[in-house]
Every structure is written in structure tokens, then in C-alpha cells.
């Protein structure tokens, strides 16, 4: 194994102490006291047209500074999804519109001096709605007589299959086909053909979405916001307001979690427009109810799978057809859907006949958006359940079936080049893939051979094991770009400026370690700043498991460039002719075969104070984009205890063995995986977004929307495979999402192994389990 000085070490997070001791660091902490408070009047109806809206009475309340309705804002169709450009999401959203498309959709923006006056004003706005028939069942959306987006202006920047009059946000058909699926299936000895459902899930970052805006001395709009992607946010706000980007600055302070929730613009649109209209600072801090009802959830999906294998368990056909629910607006609709295919089909690359297709429909529910796992977790539930169903038909150990069919090092899949995220992909060969090791090691750790399939513990209780495997990516090849700048300071330390956005992931720490490794200095010589569209370089932002790989390589390149410059200047200072004779170690430049030396600190002082005509600022930069997106892999194994009287399951142990290449910071990588697993367990077992019959979200707080607490965790065991990807910074791949994917199928499979019932829709609630046992 390679030895590194700075990376592959578990140093504490650079901001850890400060945050735990309560530093003012998050958006709301930074808003000025005088900021106008913004709240929204929201729709009580799932689908309605605003006939009239009257704000006169509300405006009379003392302290109210501005009330905006659809009549007062630019009518420019945008998408709130912060992703590549041209955007692969339909432009189907206005800041405000005369249609409201879900309960909680924005009707009016109200700004005033205190929360109280704003609340009072909201009550006085008179709205006359024409209530329309909502589309709440996504399986009935296509071709429904209620058309959710009748407006003429909406469009897509490239062909997505947008067909608004049929409630289709996008579709992807007849493209991802390899071989002859029908024929191959008909020749298979065993075929599994089943339908699976996954539900919406809330990201529930602990910090609610927050934004604050003000005008600076250059009369530019400044927005501090809890965003995962400041550059996309700036672009989208510029577009929505018809403003040149030169006049907008977006600052990302500390972010209290995102998981995809903050990969869309949210209340930034409202603070921006209020501050522009009033000239005053403003802020908008969502309530938990608003976070749940009126931001974004995970896409609900219906997944039809066909798997065909010969009698020896060799997979020959793999077919997936998906219907996805994007809710009221189409943020990330095509891309989440495509990830469902592109992160699953290649994992079983031995199958020769492949097909992937489907549609994404609008409904009158909260918009779906980005959420860790992003399509892959939905498909993982279906595919990894189906694999176990296939194993049962074959009477084969499901672990063996996976080992036989999963992708290996040096291998590829035609899927990589056919489908990427939103369009064609790029061919990939797995230069690092320890999936087989992960499976073998996980099997050992959970003691599979002893415990599979199950064991009766008491008359009521059965213990069993289940498994699922997963792959993700490391950014989007040749679409994601990140950059880093390093600046040498007197006293011999460096500023590292990155556009990458640490939202709790630890990327500020990881990128500092990478830059330090590349320069050849201890990490405490690095001071990182992220991210600010005025002062830090471009970066797509934190999504698609990109930061360690994409931005990490940028930090590495910037570091190597800085090192070269330092050596050049040291050579000059030491009067050395050949740069190669300069050795840089322990923050000191020495000359080969000589006692002469100069410290980094002395060199920096010279460059800024003493070297006369040779004085200069040392700055180095690096940017990175890559045709490669090396997938991290994981094998998940779960042991459960199922109570057949109550249907209740306890997770006794969750074992994860992960191949994410070199772990830049093993502790932080481990926490990423542990956190991902627990979110996956939450989705598998109880987290569910539930609506009333008329489309009102019932699970709009933590009482009704239960997320895992400390008591729900018995044991999570995480190990990393020894792995090195040559394309990654010091061998690293990304690790942000991979943890979340496997629990759904692994737990469903464990339930099957315990009691022989197959549950094909999550969450796997005690009621469903009991019912299934009853109907067995």
C-alpha cells in the first residue's frame, strides 16, 4: 500500500472544533439584524388557478415593505435544479405563477420588518382560486385530462422528451438497448419479471433552507445561502431575474447538511427579488413544515425488472422500465431517472441483452429533486431484490449469484458509453474495482455462511441475513469541472481557494490534505476558503459524488503547480542553476550536496519584502475535469431480527465493505458511509412521505416524518477495501453517496430469508410484513 504524508490520515475536520463550539457560521447566523423577514403565502390547493389576488389590505400593515405576486415578477421560465448547463431539466418554473401546482406552492412573497407583521399581512391577502382537479396518482398522470403545465412558455434546452400536454416531464425510450432482450429472455432457463415501488423520501438536513441578501457598496446583489452549488445558483438567479451575472455574488457559508436538498435554488429567488425591489437586506428561513412540504423530495418510482439467467446462474438479460414521479416541477427529472439505469446495469456487466427505458411524469405533489442516491437507490432496491428472487429460483446462494455476475477490475460495460446523465455517456474501464473483495469480506464479517438464510431464536423471533451490492460514480465525466487556487503568504502558509462546497461532507478538510500532499507541506500550512463566486474559482458544486474526485484532482494540480513555482523561486534565491538540485522537505529548500538552505518562511518573506526586483506573489491554480468517473463500490450485509407476531424488525448489524479507492481521510470516509447507511435504513423501514386524499402532505414535521434516532442503531460496521484508482487524487474515488444504496434491498432480502415473503415496495413496515406473512 502506498504511503502518504498528508492524505490517508484521519486528521480532525478543519472546521470541527469551531462548529461544535458554536461559531456563527451558517446563513442565518450571518444575516444582519435589520434584514427584512420574508415569508410566503402558499397554496392550500393541490392544483388551482389564481383568478384574482388582492394585496391592498395587507400592504397597509405597518412594517410591510413589499408584497409580490405573479404580476410583479419577471415571467421567465427556469429550472431550479443546480446542475450542468445547458440544463437537462425542463424549464417549467416561474418565480411565481398564476397557477399553483401543489399544496405549499408559492402564491405571494411578503417582506416586512418582523415575523409578526409578515404573518399578519399574509392573513390579509385575498385570493380567489379556481380549484382544479389534481393529479395525485403518478400512475394515472400520463394523458390525464388535468394538464399540470398548460403554460406556453415552458421548454427544454435540449430534447428531453418533454410532453407537457400529456404531463410528461421527460422520457427516454428506444435508446439504451444492447442485444435482443425479448429473444434472450425467451432463451433463458430462469426469468424474474417483477414490479417494485419506491416512495418519496425527505432529505431533512438539520439546517432548514436559508438565504439572506443585501446590496453591497458596488451596488451589486449579494446572496449568502445554504447551497450546494453557488455557481449554478448565481446562473439560475441571473436568468430568473434577467440580470447579468456580473451584478450577482453568491456566498456559501457553512451548510447544515444538504444530501441533495440544497442542489436546487430555493428561497434565494425570494431574498434576491425582495432586496432588489426594496434595496434593503432580507432573509428567508424556512420552517420545517416548509422544508418538508415546499422544497424537494426523492423521486417516487415504479420499476419493472426482467432478469434472465441460464441454469448455472449466468445472467443473460437485464431489462428495466421505470415510471418516475417528479411532482409539480421537473427538477432533476431526466437525470435521476437515467442514473437509475447507469449505476445499476453496468454492475452486472455479464448480461449481453440490456434495455433501459421509461418516463418521468408530473403530478400535483411536492417537487422531486436531488437526494443522495439520486435514482440509484430506487433502482438498487428493485434490481437487488430481483437478484435475490432469481437466486431463489436457481436455488443458489444469492452471494454466489452476485460474485458470478458482478463487474470486475479491468472490465467495462457498453452502458457507460450509451447513457450518461441526461445524454450520451463516455466509455469507462474499471481501473479499480474490488467489488468481489467487498462481497467476500462482507460475507465473512456478517458470518453469512453460519447465518444464511435464517435461524429461529424464540417461537416468535427469527434472525436472518440479507445482502445487496451497489456502485456509484465519481462525478459526471467531462461535465463536472472543479478548480482550486493556492496563494503563498508571508510566514510560509497558503490560502487554498476552492469553489467546492463543503456541506458537512468534510471536503474542506479533504481538499486541504490533498493540496498539502501535493505541495509537500503539513496540512496546517493550508487555510481553506470555500466558496464565493467572487473570490473562489469555479466548481460545479457538491453533487453526484464529485468533490473528492473532481475537485480533489484540481487541488492536487494546484498543489503540484505551487510546488514547481516554489522550487523555481528557491533555486533563484539559493543561486542554483538546475532546479533539480533543489530538494524540498520539512518546509525547507536544500541544495543537493551542500549545506545551504532556505526555509519556506524565509522564502515567502523574501518574495514579499526582501528580494527587490524579484519580489512577486506566488499563485498557482489547477482545474480538473475528467473523461473518467471511477465508480466506488460497496457490498452491504444486514442481520435482522424479525418478530413474526408484530412484524417488527430490528437491525442487529449492518456491514458495509466499501471500495472508494484511497480514503483521503479514513475517519471522514467512514462517517460518510455510516451516515448514508442510516439514511438508507430510514428509507427502507419507516421514512415515507404521505399525502391526504386531496394532496396535502401529512408528514410535514419530525413527529409524523420519523427519521432514525440513536436508539434505532445497534451496530454499523464499515470497512474499506484496499484499492487505488489511478485517475483519482492519490488513488481516491468518491464516497458521498455509496453508503445509502443497499439497505432497502438488503433488508427486504433478509425479510425473505426469514419468513419467505417478498415485499416489493418500501418502506418495509410491520403492517406489510404481517400482511405478507398472513397471505403467504
Amino acid at each position: 500500500m502506498m504511503k502518504f504524508k498528508e492524505v490517508n490520515h484521519s486528521i480532525p475536520k478543519v472546521d470541527g472544533r469551531g462548529l461544535l463550539k458554536g461559531a456563527s457560521a451558517y446563513t442565518d447566523d450571518l444575516a444582519v439584524d435589520s434584514a427584512l423577514i420574508i415569508k410566503l403565502l402558499r397554496s392550500p390547493y393541490a392544483f388551482a388557478k389564481i383568478k384574482t389576488i388582492d394585496t391592498k389590505k395587507a400592504l397597509k400593515i405597518e412594517g410591510i415593505e413589499c408584497i409580490l405576486t405573479y404580476k410583479d415578477v419577471p415571467r421567465i421560465p427556469i429550472t431550479r435544479a443546480g446542475q450542468g448547463y445547458p440544463e437537462p431539466s425542463p424549464k417549467d418554473k416561474f418565480i411565481l405563477d398564476n397557477y399553483v401546482r401543489y399544496v405549499g406552492d408559492e402564491v405571494a412573497i411578503v417582506a416586512g420588518t418582523t415575523e409578526k407583521v409578515v404573518d399578519d399581512a399574509i392573513k390579509l391577502i385575498e385570493v380567489d382560486y379556481e380549484v382544479l382537479e389534481p393529479v395525485l396518482d403518478f400512475e394515472k398522470a400520463e394523458g390525464n385530462k388535468s394538464v399540470i403545465h398548460p403554460e406556453k412558455e415552458i421548454y427544454s434546452m435540449f430534447p428531453l422528451g418533454l410532453d407537457a400536454k400529456n404531463n410528461i416531464a421527460c422520457s427516454y425510450m428506444d435508446t439504451m438497448i444492447v442485444g435482443d432482450v425479448e429473444k434472450t429472455l425467451s432463451e433463458c432457463d430462469y426469468v424474474v419479471s417483477e414490479r417494485y415501488y419506491t416512495h418519496a423520501q425527505q432529505q431533512t438536513a438539520m439546517e432548514p433552507h436559508t438565504s439572506t441578501a443585501y446590496i453591497d457598496v458596488q451596488e451589486r446583489l449579494n446572496i449568502i445561502t445554504s447551497t450546494q452549488n453557488p455557481y449554478h445558483t448565481r446562473r439560475i438567479i441571473g436568468e430568473a431575474l434577467g440580470k447579468p451575472l456580473r451584478d450577482i455574488r453568491v456566498i456559501k457559508p457553512r451548510i447544515g447538511g444538504g444530501f441533495g436538498a440544497k442542489q436546487q435554488v430555493h428561497n434565494d429567488l425570494f431574498t434576491a427579488i425582495v432586496t432588489l425591489k426594496t434595496g434593503k437586506p432580507s432573509k428567508c428561513f424556512y420552517t420545517r413544515k416548509e422544508v418538508n412540504e415546499s422544497t424537494f423530495t426523492r423521486h417516487q418510482m415504479r420499476i419493472d425488472i426482467q432478469l434472465g439467467a441460464d441454469k448455472d446462474g449466468n445472467l443473460h438479460a437485464f431489462d428495466m422500465h421505470i415510471l418516475s414521479n417528479t411532482g409539480a416541477y421537473g427538477e432533476h427529472s431526466l437525470t435521476t431517472f437515467m442514473v437509475a439505469g447507469s449505476k445499476l446495469l453496468p454492475m452486472y456487466n455479464k448480461a449481453e441483452a440490456l434495455r433501459f427505458e421509461g418516463k418521468v411524469v408530473y403530478t400535483n405533489k411536492c417537487s422531486a429533486g436531488a437526494y443522495r442516491g439520486y435514482g440509484a437507490i430506487q433502482a438498487n432496491f428493485a434490481v437487488e431484490s430481483a437478484m435475490c428472487e432469481l437466486a431463489a429460483k436457481l436455488k443458489m446462494d444469492p452471494v454466489e449469484l452476485r460474485l458470478k455476475n458482478c463487474i470486475g477490475e479491468g472490465e467495462s460495460s457498453p452502458v457507460f458509453s450509451v447513457m450518461g446523465e441526461g445524454g450520451e455517456g463516455i466509455a469507462q474501464v474499471m481501473e479499480s474495482c474490488k467489488l468481489d473483495y467487498c462481497i467476500e469480506r462482507g460475507r465473512k464479517l456478517i458470518k453469512w455462511n453460519k447465518k444464511y438464510p435464517s435461524k429461529q431464536i424464540t417461537p416468535n423471533k427469527i434472525r436472518s441475513v440479507g445482502t445487496a451490492i451497489a456502485m456509484q460514480g465519481s462525478g459526471i465525466p467531462l461535465l463536472d469541472m472543479g478548480a482550486a487556487v493556492l496563494k503563498l503568504n508571508d510566514d510560509g502558509f497558503f490560502n487554498l481557494l476552492v469553489g467546492a462546497t463543503d456541506l458537512g461532507t468534510g471536503s474542506d478538510t479533504v481538499l486541504s490534505q490533498i493540496a498539502a500532499e501535493a505541495i509537500g507541506v503539513p496540512v496546517d500550512r493550508i487555510v481553506i476558503t470555500s466558496s464565493d463566486t467572487d473570490t473562489t474559482p469555479y466548481d460545479v458544486g457538491a453533487y453526484a459524488s464529485s468533490t473528492t474526485f473532481v475537485s480533489g484532482n484540481a487541488a492536487r494540480k494546484a498543489g503540484l503547480n505551487m510546488r514547481a513555482k516554489l522550487i523555481e523561486e528557491a533555486a533563484r534565491a539559493l543561486h542554483v542553476v538546475h532546479k533539480d538540485d533543489v530538494i524540498f522537505e520539512d518546509c525547507t529548500f536544500k541544495i543537493k550536496d551542500s549545506n545551504e538552505s532556505i526555509t519556506l518562511k524565509e522564502l515567502s518573506e523574501g518574495l514579499y519584502y526582501k528580494f527587490g526586483a524579484d519580489m512577486k506573489q506566488l499563485i498557482a491554480s489547477g482545474s480538473n475535469t475528467s473523461p473518467k468517473s471511477p465508480p466506488p463500490f460497496m457490498a452491504g450485509f444486514v442481520e435482522i431480527e424479525l418478530d413474526i407476531e408484530t412484524g417488527k424488525i430490528d437491525i442487529l448489524d449492518y456491514v458495509a465493505v466499501v471500495d472508494c479507492g484511497t480514503t483521503i481521510n479514513p475517519n471522514l470516509a467512514k462517517i460518510q458511509v455510516e451516515g448514508g447507511i442510516l439514511q438508507g435504513i430510514g428509507m427502507a423501514m419507516y421514512e415515507d412521505v404521505i399525502y391526504s386524499k386531496d394532496g396535502k402532505m401529512l408528514t410535514n414535521n419530525f413527529m409524523k416524518y420519523k427519521i432514525p434516532t440513536r436508539k434505532d442503531v445497534k451496530k454499523i460496521t464499515v470497512e474499506f477495501a484496499e484499492s487505488y484508482d489511478p485517475a483519482g487524487p492519490y488513488g481516491a474515488k468518491s464516497v458521498g453517496e455509496i453508503g445509502i444504496d443497499t439497505p432497502l434491498a438488503a433488508i427486504a432480502n433478509a425479510i425473505y430469508n426469514a419468513v419467505g415473503v417478498r415485499i416489493r415496495s418500501v418502506p418495509l413496515t410491520p403492517e406489510k410484513i404481517l400482511n405478507a406473512i398472513k397471505n403467504k
Binding site: 409578526k116 438536513a205 462517517i671 451516515g675 442510516l678 442503531v713
Partner: protein
């Protein structure tokens, strides 16, 4: 109404409305370590100590706070360091939003829990939600602080 608050052993004079929560007032005075995550008493990030007991400040009327001693993480000073260091050395602080309240509650727990066990710790801290960490890393650090193997 006028109110005098004892926060971290210092007195602060402030003006409040009768229905304002202690959370909002603390943030207004400048104690930004106290976070808002739900405002309905269900997440724990607004926890402060009232006379040494962990209390959800979003559910505590500021008006009721006039004769009590309020402690926020700022008030723990050096006493927070041990807990903080144990958590960060596990890499268990992610976004940090749940952090200050967790540190405070852990500090109070150590004073309160006789013969701590993992179960008792998890029970004491159940109300402190964290969406990032999966709890395991935090527990590794907190166990050390509590002297639990």
C-alpha cells in the same frame, strides 16, 4: 416586556414579546450556537441548559426564563473542549448543525448519569437528532468522555 436574563453567568437586559421563545431571544442577543431546526420541539438542535438541565429552548417561553440560569455552549468555555476533541477526533462532526447542542447535552449527561452505559447514553441523547453522522461516530467519542467501554 422588559426582561433580564442570566446567560452564561452574565446578565442581559432585553425586550421581548410575551409569546417569544427563548430560542429566538437567545439568537437575537447573539448566542448563535443555539440553532433552529424544527421549532416544534422535535429535533434538539436548540437545546440549552436551564439550571443545568437540557431544555429545548424553542419550547421554552422567554418570559419564563427570568429567574433561571441559562447555559449555552459558549458558556462551557474550556469545559467543552474535552467533548469537542473526542467527537472531532472520530471525524464524527459533519455539518455541525447538531453539534453545539450535542456537546451541551453530553456535558449535562455526564453530571447526571450514574453508571452510564451505551443504552443509557443513547436514551439520554435520543432527542438530539443528527441526519449526517449515523450516530456511531458520535457515540464512539461520547463513550470515551463518559468512560464507557
Amino acid at each position: 416586556m422588559k426582561l433580564k436574563l442570566n446567560i452564561n453567568n452574565k446578565f442581559y437586559n432585553t425586550n421581548i414579546d410575551g409569546d417569544e421563545s427563548l430560542l429566538d431571544i437567545l439568537r437575537k442577543i447573539g448566542f448563535k450556537s443555539v440553532k433552529k431546526g424544527c421549532d416544534t420541539g422535535t429535533c434538539g438542535v436548540c437545546s440549552v441548559l436551564i439550571d443545568g438541565k437540557p431544555t429545548l429552548s424553542c419550547q421554552f417561553l422567554a418570559a419564563r426564563a427570568k429567574d433561571v440560569k441559562i447555559t449555552t455552549v459558549e458558556g462551557l468555555g474550556k469545559q467543552a473542549d474535552e467533548i469537542v476533541d473526542l467527537i472531532v477526533s472520530e471525524g464524527a462532526d459533519q455539518c455541525g448543525y447538531c453539534g453545539p447542542s450535542l456537546v451541551l447535552t453530553t456535558y449535562a449527561m455526564k453530571k447526571e448519569l450514574k453508571n452510564p452505559t451505551v443504552e443509557k447514553i443513547n436514551h439520554y441523547l435520543t432527542g438530539n437528532l443528527c441526519r449526517c453522522s449515523g450516530y456511531e461516530g458520535q457515540l464512539r467519542g461520547i463513550k470515551k468522555y463518559m468512560g464507557v467501554k
